[in-house]
Amino acid sequence: MNEIKKITLALLTILATSNALAECGANVDNIESFYINGMFTDYSDYTSNKNALKNFLVAYLESEGFNPNIQGQHNKDENKLSQIFEVVRQKWEDDDADDEIIKFLNNESLNSERAKEAIAEFLQDISIEYQSTISEEDSQLAIAKLENILDSCSRVVLISHSQGNLL
């Protein structure tokens, strides 16, 4: 009786392993993309960026084996953001910040020399917080998702922006 159990268990193990290997084999040519945003990117901007990357993959890279359904992790970095806002609030006690800083914090493009000067000065003020790595919670979530993709034997292209590089 015990021998029958052992044989059944061995057969199931072989079956499961061969299925996993078959799945791994099928995925080995897949290329998955994984996006992590930088600082001052709210969730709607993160989703919009991801959507833009998806459209790019569909237009140019799907035929090269890229899966257009890009995955990702929103780097919300709440603790760092609240520290930065504390610095910002001390700088502008009356909440009347420079228009260029308001645009920068809203993740909007800045082109003029005046804007560059204002942002350079602002980044100096927040440099300690701004150069820090993303939070442990966001990092752990991102790593877990990445491992999940890697376990399926797919190859992964990591697309990270600014602070998102510091995983």
């Binding site: 969730y43 709607s44 919009s48 929103h74 009347d96």
Partner: protein, 263 residues
């Protein structure tokens, strides 16, 4: 010579000049205004109901009538029009500056009607009271209670953007205001509320990008016109972060086609 003068006297009343809002005279607190005088003040046009000096135009004033900008109907010959009422006729817009019963298609149209154009035509332009104590709060002031903060709404409808972009910008404004108004109740938000709110915000962002990318001349609205103080920016981040922990990501990402039409 006499014939020319005669023709001028006959024809001049028939000529009306379309006045752009910016070309109207601004209100002067030291000037005496006769009944039927009209001025621009606080983004609106106003007609004096009687002789006045030193009284600023304001809502529900017995001295000044505000020119109507929305719900403008076609002119009707038998209808009585009060000062400040607006009509359309032959694809032009006019406001009444007197109570005289003068047909809009008569030679004496200028004695009753003033042709005008206004960037906020067709919109419910809120009055802006700079002294209002709530201007600096997170939610700000929404005098016409349409779910959009007044300073943003005025900036959008008074801009030279096309009507379509203005309407989209106002829809985006509603989604921005929803975020700010959720600050106090964010802990009781449901997954459906989180998904719908983040969907509206993402559609607004994608629509804005689409306008800026594909239109050669049009420029969309700016999110920084809504999240325009440190407190409002921080509230936007903290509320969106909380909503992101509840969101149905699959549903959100599958609903992003045609963002401007879906907004």
């Amino acid at each position: 010579m006499k014939k020319i003068l005669f023709l001028l006297v006959i024809l001049l009343p028939c000529l009306t000049i379309a006045n752009d809002f910016n070309s109207f005279e601004s209100y002067d607190n030291n000037k005496k205004y006769a009944r039927g005088s009209y001025v621009k003040y606080s983004n609106n046009l106003w007609v004096a109901r009687h002789k006045v000096i030193g009284k600023q135009p304001k809502e529900e004033s017995i001295t000044w009538a505000k020119v109507k900008l929305n719900d403008i109907r076609e002119w009707k010959s038998k209808k009585v029009y009060l000062l400040g009422q607006s009509v359309s006729y032959n694809e032009k817009t006019y406001f009444a500056k007197s109570l005289w019963s003068i047909a809009i298609n008569s030679s004496y149209v200028n004695n009753k009607w003033v042709e005008f154009s206004h960037p906020a035509m067709g919109f419910d332009l809120p009055s802006f009271d700079p002294e209002h104590p709530d201007h600096n709060t997170i939610e700000g002031v929404d005098q016409n209670e349409n779910g959009i903060r007044d300073d943003y709404e005025i900036k959008i409808v008074m801009s030279d953007k096309s009507r379509d972009i203005k309407e989209l910008a106002l829809k985006a404004g509603k989604s921005y205001q929803t975020v700010l108004s959720m600050k106090g109740v964010i802990n009781s938000a449901t997954q459906e509320e989180a998904t719908n709110t983040l969907l509206a915000l993402t559609l607004a962002e994608l629509c804005k990008r689409q306008i800026n990318k594909y239109s050669s001349s049009a420029i969309a609205w700016k999110k920084s016109d809504y999240f325009n103080t440190i407190d409002r920016i921080q509230t936007n981040f903290s509320v969106q972060n909380k909503l992101a922990s509840l969101v149905d990501e699959e549903k959100l990402e599958s609903s992003l086609e045609q963002p401007c039409a879906s907004l």
